[in-house]
């Protein structure tokens, strides 16, 4: 049966997809449901190899709609269930994410972004930012972690399960094809040995261990506008309360910066190197990066940019992240300089070159 896994710290060198599978095992996920799409396939490949050794399960279904909804079903029975997807698959999974938002189903999605729109490329983009944060006919009541490194893929996949089961909102780990496919080193660990308590899942219904339980009727359809309004506003309040507790960001050198480099996800790695290089040259440059895109660290960003003159926003999409930034710093007079490259990676050199154009 279940082998003892991940004792102490282990330094490893592996692909991001493999990292996610290991992190899901470390988080004590019970079951994964999936449908093949590049570049997330190896999450399933590694999970299907790891899972039987640890008494865990996998189900390959007919499409991403089904992957999303079977995962919802699994979560409802009180199991830690997750799925992974990308691109057009992410589009299809938004339907289940909406049900999860409405019914407060703590589902975990791992998204390895690929090019868009349409089938586009299987390689890389940050074009699922809007979709992952706001997909569907709702208010974006979800938690989205935008990771930049393999270490973060490991850390935040574990965290995603914990946050989902704490706050009962659908939780996304938003990676990309570069993170999915490249190899790099990271430290894997058993979260409980590190003092990270794993939140225990609880059945939403169908608790077969408690035959005497009071039955539950769970729905997502309401008869009147007022009934719906109450439900949505209640979710909104819970989401707002959660937001302050879970919001995460990273910033460096913003206090005296004239120009602040603003990025998320893997592009933040190019930005941090650009920041270090430019600082070494004595330039007054800052670095800011939201780690949670939902909730967005708006207050923190506003505070960070208050003395700066320019904001260099770089993303591998045509303004999806930029719109969130503009929305969150509304009222600020700071000049925004966008570097928008949909579906294309952004290097340190490109950010540095863009910076030099500013002065």
């Amino acid at each position: 049966m279940a082998e003892v896994l991940l004792q102490g710290e282990q330094r490893v060198f592996m692909t991001g997809n493999e990292v996610v599978a290991w992190a899901a095992v470390a988080a004590k996920a019970d079951i994964m449901y999936g449908y093949p799409i590049t570049p997330q396939n190896e999450i399933m490949h590694y999970w299907t190899r790891l899972a039987p050794k640890h008494g865990k399960r996998f189900l390959q279904v007919e499409d991403e709609i089904s992957a999303g909804f079977t995962t919802v079903g699994g979560v409802m029975t009180g199991r830690k269930a997750f799925t992974a997807t990308a691109g057009p698959g992410n589009v299809l999974m938004q339907e289940s994410a909406n049900m999860a938002e409405m019914m407060r189903v703590p589902i975990v999605y791992v998204v390895q972004q690929r090019g868009g729109p349409s089938t586009a490329t299987v390689i890389y983009a940050q074009q699922e930012t809007t979709l992952t944060c706001f997909g569907g006919n709702g208010e974006g009541h979800r938690l989205v972690y935008s990771t930049a490194t393999h270490q973060e893929l490991f850390d935040y996949t574990i965290k995603a399960f914990n946050m989902a089961w704490t706050y009962r909102f659908p939780t996304f780990v938003l990676g990309d094809g570069y993170q999915a496919k490249m190899r790099e080193s990271l430290t894997m660990y058993n979260p409980e040995e590190k003092g990270i308590q794993l939140v225990k899942p609880v059945p939403l219904l169908g608790d077969t261990t408690k035959p005497e339980r009071q039955f539950k009727h769970l729905r997502n359809t309401y008869n009147t506008e007022d009934e719906l309004y109450k439900v949505v506003m209640n979710n909104q309040r819970d989401w707002d309360n959660m937001a302050e507790k879970v919001v995460e960001w990273d910033e460096k050198g913003c206090e005296d910066a004239e120009v602040i480099l603003l990025t998320h996800g893997i592009v933040a790695r190019s930005a941090i190197t650009a920041y270090q290089q430019l600082r070494a040259e004595g330039k007054k440059v800052g670095f800011f990066r939201p780690i949670t895109l939902r909730p967005f660290p708006g207050k923190e960003l506003k505070e960070a940019i208050k003395n700066a003159k320019k904001l260099l926003v770089a993303e591998s999409a045509y303004g999806q992240f930029l719109k969130m930034v503009q929305n969150n710093i509304f009222g600020s007079q700071i000049e925004i300089v966008p570097l928008l490259r949909p579906g294309v990676g952004i290097t340190t050199e490109e950010i540095v070159a863009e910076y030099h154009k500013l002065s």
Partner: protein, 256 residues
């Protein structure tokens, strides 16, 4: 079943797994859903599976069953009840999962789920109410609308040269499901037989043999615009003439 007579007054005969507080149910007068759900309730009572069951209902008229039973229930999205119940059963095999849907949910928007659940022989029970139209949305053509039948989207009658023939769901499921499947088509015009089919379907799941699927021929006088006599004629003659009632797979399973 409860005592039929209380304080000298004849009480409606309700399965004990029906939720008393939410009765009368929400279906239109003359609708077949109530009959199907009543025999389902009786089968659940007889098998004593209320406490391990999860009932999932689809969107469309079937969603009105979301609070019908004193049983853990989840109302899902249109067409997605099959994957939700599948996911539950895969995560906790102790659950008896019943997915309840209409012909639109099973044969149109959720047809890929029904087909693939059948191919994988998911150990769940799917009950599908066939009333030849989309009832909740006001009577549009469904996959099961009979040739020549008038609906809101086929006002001059269903033209099979343009829209094809009605979907024969049990025949499809029976064709693709592996050994162990139970597949039948019953009708509200023969409740004793329908109850037997539904009970066998549940038993098939309890025994872990494979998928169980029962299509139930039902009525929709509201959208058919039929009186009682015409309604029964349509169910018993027109529908049964096209959709053959009987067991298609697993008929060797003994009745409990």
């Amino acid at each position: 079943m409860q005592e039929l007579e209380e304080d000298g007054i004849l009480q409606p005969a309700m399965p004990s797994c029906w939720c008393q507080e939410t009765k009368p149910h929400k279906f239109c007068p003359g609708c077949g859903h109530g009959i199907i759900l009543k025999v389902l309730g009786e089968a659940i009572d007889e098998l004593g599976i209320k406490d391990t069951m999860v009932f999932g209902c689809d969107i469309g008229c079937s969603l009105l069953s979301w609070d019908l039973f004193s049983i853990d229930t989840v109302q899902t999205h249109h067409g997605r009840t099959t994957p939700v119940i599948t996911g539950m059963k895969r995560a906790n095999s102790d659950i008896i999962g019943v997915a309840y849907m209409g012909d639109g949910g099973g044969y149109a928007i959720g047809s890929q789920h029904l087909f693939n659940a059948a191919v994988r022989n998911e150990k769940i029970t799917i009950l599908l109410c066939n009333n030849c139209n989309y009832g909740m949305t006001g009577g549009q053509m469904a996959p099961t609308t009979l040739p020549g039948m008038k609906t809101e989207t086929t006002p001059y009658g269903r033209d099979v040269s343009e829209t094809g023939y009605p979907t024969k769901g049990p025949e499809m499921v029976a064709a693709v499901a592996p050994e162990g499947a139970y597949v039948a088509r019953g009708t509200i015009a023969n409740v004793r037989q329908l109850k037997g089919f539904i009970k066998k379907a549940l038993e098939n799941q309890i025994a872990g043999r494979g998928i169980s699927f029962v299509e139930c021929l039902s009525s929709c006088p509201t959208n058919w615009r039929t009186n009682a006599k015409q309604t029964w004629e349509f169910v018993e003659k027109d529908m049964a003439g096209f959709f053959k009632v009987g067991e298609l797979r697993g008929s060797e399973v003994k009745e409990g």
